[in-house]
């Protein structure tokens, strides 16, 4: 589904991704772990086409398409969803209007008619329940005045509404208490299907108790430096990242 080869990317002239390769197949859950500043969020930004970053080398294909050539909105419509580490507040744009616009743009891309208001509301109600999202949030401006936990739930709600093929969850667990974590993880698990895949970025193994990964990768200094099964996450939890850093830097 997703094939990343030797990806290099920089921001403001500073190279952050330094030859990253990764491949993700349908049905798989990949966890990416790594110390702060390793480039995890940069990877999610580059995959979704954030114009602040420049790709200097490498290839990314998504379901056979050259992802790097697509505009951010087309990547979304092709089925890539990012749950932002820091969801953005958009005062004055209501959640409902925002979501309806997004859903209908996705439908237009698939040559479908816009959704009727009643179908939309029904779908919204269903998906809200999935993340136990407060009804009143839907009537507010996008993320404005939401608590940290509400913002993360809102990300998963949007994910449910857009039904992506590949979801990238960037530190969706950070700042969540254990109940919220369970709700969010539950939502993600319910959305899991054999034909979609997830990349779960975290630096705590805690989330992986709830969302069980098929593969765990360590991202360090702009590259995937180690990959393994879910037991790798436990090992990182126990031993930290220093031994990895030594292994890599010592080479």
């Amino acid at each position: 589904m997703l094939e990343i080869k030797n990806l290099h990317a920089n921001i403001n002239g500073k190279e952050i991704l330094k030859g990253l390769s990764l491949s993700v197949n349908a049905g798989e859950v990949h966890a990416i772990m790594g110390p702060n500043g390793a480039g995890k969020s940069t990877l999610s930004s580059v995959l979704t086409g954030n114009p602040a970053f420049t790709v200097t080398e490498g290839d990314v294909t998504f379901n056979g398409k050259n992802l790097l050539e697509l505009a951010p909105e087309d990547r979304s419509r092709e089925g890539i969803f990012l749950s932002f580490q820091y969801p953005v507040e958009i005062p004055g744009v209501s959640m409902v209007n925002f979501m309806r616009t997004a859903v209908n743009e996705h439908r237009k891309y698939k040559n479908l008619e816009p959704m009727s208001a009643s179908d939309f509301l029904r779908m919204q109600r269903e998906k809200k329940e999935l993340v136990e999202m407060d009804n009143k949030l839907a009537n507010r401006s996008v993320n404005e005045g939401f608590s940290g936990g509400e913002k993360k739930r809102n990300e998963i709600f949007q994910m449910a509404m857009l039904d992506p093929k590949l979801s990238i969850l960037d530190e969706t667990d950070s700042g969540l208490d254990i109940d919220a974590l369970r709700i969010v993880a539950n939502g993600v698990n319910k959305l899991k299907r054999p034909d979609n895949a997830s990349i779960v970025i975290t630096h705590y193994q805690r989330l992986l108790d709830y969302i069980v990964p098929d593969f765990v990768h360590v991202l360090y200094d702009g590259r995937i430096v180690k990959s393994g099964g879910k037991e790798l996450a436990l090992e990182l939890e126990e031993r930290g990242y220093d031994w990895i850093k030594q292994e890599v830097d010592g080479k």
Partner: protein, 446 residues
């Protein structure tokens, strides 16, 4: 530039007076003398430094001193009765009040007088005598002086004590002429104690000639009265709109003024609200959507003379291309105006680097127990928000539109007539989409 108007006045002041009203003529010669002294304002003056009127004023405009009727039936060309709001509808063509033919207007509440200044000067001379020029004649301003010399008529509204106008009054100004044309008018609005009224002023241009409008509006809001003033400007880019709105508030009154420029040429709104009684509420809002060579200068003052009053000022500009915006927010709090709470915000978005915005908060606070704040920002659209929306599949254009629309939203929320609020939302959205924001059914703007 001034000379041709000085000559015009010298040669024709008899005709000007003959076709006007005594209350207006009383101040005319003094205004003219003032204009001779001041001339037209130039950028050398602090109050006019952001808007150069030289080009607009250099045109050889025709004036209709002999009040020759303009061959137009506004009811034919203009069907822009904002649907859903039932209003008392009046027309001013250029600077002449169009005779009322709308049957709904005969159902005004008892005692309410709406008509032309000239008419009312004949039927209720005492009303005009006490009010006309009371606010404007003390101002040292070349445009106001010019208005005093040349205005021959205007719109008049009187709402007696405790009378509530059940519907908004809509005043549609239509500029229509075959040659470059100057319209000069002076409006007077009086709300007695406890009265309530909402006025919606729409500015439109019909013909492709150059227009200049010099309009002075004086509003007197007595104790406990509530007045809302909405101005919607939707004119072509050969229009120069010089408008002065002077509002005087007595104790416990509530005033909202909201001036929206959707499309224009060169606009200068001078707005001054004098708060002359305790426990008043004042809201002054405005919005500008400008592109191409549009220029809009909102020069505003809120003068707190008495204690225990609240005022809020909110102006937002979205400027594209070579548009130029200016905002001055003067906030004066007199020494005795203790417990004043006054908040001022001006936020601006420049969509291109070529657009320009000048903003100037000007706070003069002489009382010590007050809460006052001001903030001004000039920026572009929030890139992180744009990316967030695009990540959800919303196209870049649509995302920009949503952000711009959101940006103007709090000004639109300051419209207290729900149907008008909906209407303006729609017009703003159309305008931001680059579609001509004409009112539905408005033949003029097609």
């Amino acid at each position: 530039m001034e000379q041709q108007y000085i000559d015009l006045y010298t040669a024709h002041h008899e005709s000007i007076k003959k076709h006007s009203a005594p209350a207006m003529n009383g101040l005319r010669d003094a205004s003219f003398a003032q204009f001779e002294k001041l001339g037209f304002p130039t950028v050398a003056l602090e109050n006019y430094k952001y808007t150069d009127l030289k080009e607009s004023l250099s045109i050889d405009y025709g004036l209709n001193i002999n009040r020759i009727p303009i061959p137009v039936n506004p009811y034919d060309v203009f069907k822009c009765d904002v649907p859903g709001i039932h209003s008392y509808l009046y027309f001013v063509v250029n600077d002449g009040f169009y005779p009322v033919t709308d049957p709904r207007n005969t159902q005004l509440p008892d005692g309410v007088i709406i008509g032309s200044v000239k008419e009312v000067a004949a039927t209720h001379p005492e009303l005009l005598k006490d009010y006309f020029g009371k606010l404007s004649s003390t101002k040292e301003d070349g445009l106001i002086a010019f208005n005093g010399a040349f205005a021959q008529d205007g719109f008049f509204m009187y709402v007696p004590e405790n009378v509530v106008l059940d519907k908004p009054v809509q005043l549609v100004n239509i500029m229509r002429a075959d040659v470059d044309f100057m319209a000069v008018s002076h409006n007077v609005i009086i709300l007695e104690k406890g009265a309530k009224a909402q006025l919606l002023v729409c500015d439109h241009t019909v013909d492709e000639v150059r227009f200049l409008s010099n309009r002075v509006t004086e509003v007197f809001v007595a104790e406990n009265a509530t007045y809302e003033h909405y101005k919607l400007e939707n004119t072509h880019n050969k229009t120069t709109n010089l408008s002065t709105l002077l509002i005087d508030q007595d104790a416990s009154s509530n005033v909202l003024a909201n001036v929206i420029t959707l499309h224009n040429g060169v606009t200068r709104n001078m707005i001054e609200i004098d708060v002359d009684g305790e426990h008043c509420e004042t809201s002054l809002c405005g919005m500008v959507i400008g592109d191409k060579n549009q220029q809009v200068d909102n020069f505003t003052s809120i003068i707190h003379n008495k204690p225990n009053c609240n005022s809020r000022e909110l102006f937002k500009y979205v400027l594209d291309d070579l548009a130029k915006g200016a905002f001055t927010g003067k906030l004066y709090v007199a020494k005795d105006a203790q417990k004043t709470a006054a908040f001022q915000t001006n936020r601006n978005i420049l969509l291109k680097k070529t657009a320009k915005m000048r903003t100037k908060p000007q706070l003069e606070i002489y009382a010590d127990d007050v809460k006052c704040s001001h903030g001004a920002t000039i920026g572009s659209l929030d890139e992180t928000a744009l990316f967030y929306m695009r990540q959800r599949g919303i196209s870049a254009d649509e995302a920009r539109l949503l952000l711009m629309f959101a940006f103007t939203n709090d000004v639109i929320e300051n419209i207290r007539i729900p149907a008008l609020q909906d209407r303006i939302k729609m017009l703003v959205e159309k305008r931001l989409r680059g579609e001509l924001s004409k009112c539905e059914g408005c033949v003029i703007c097609q």
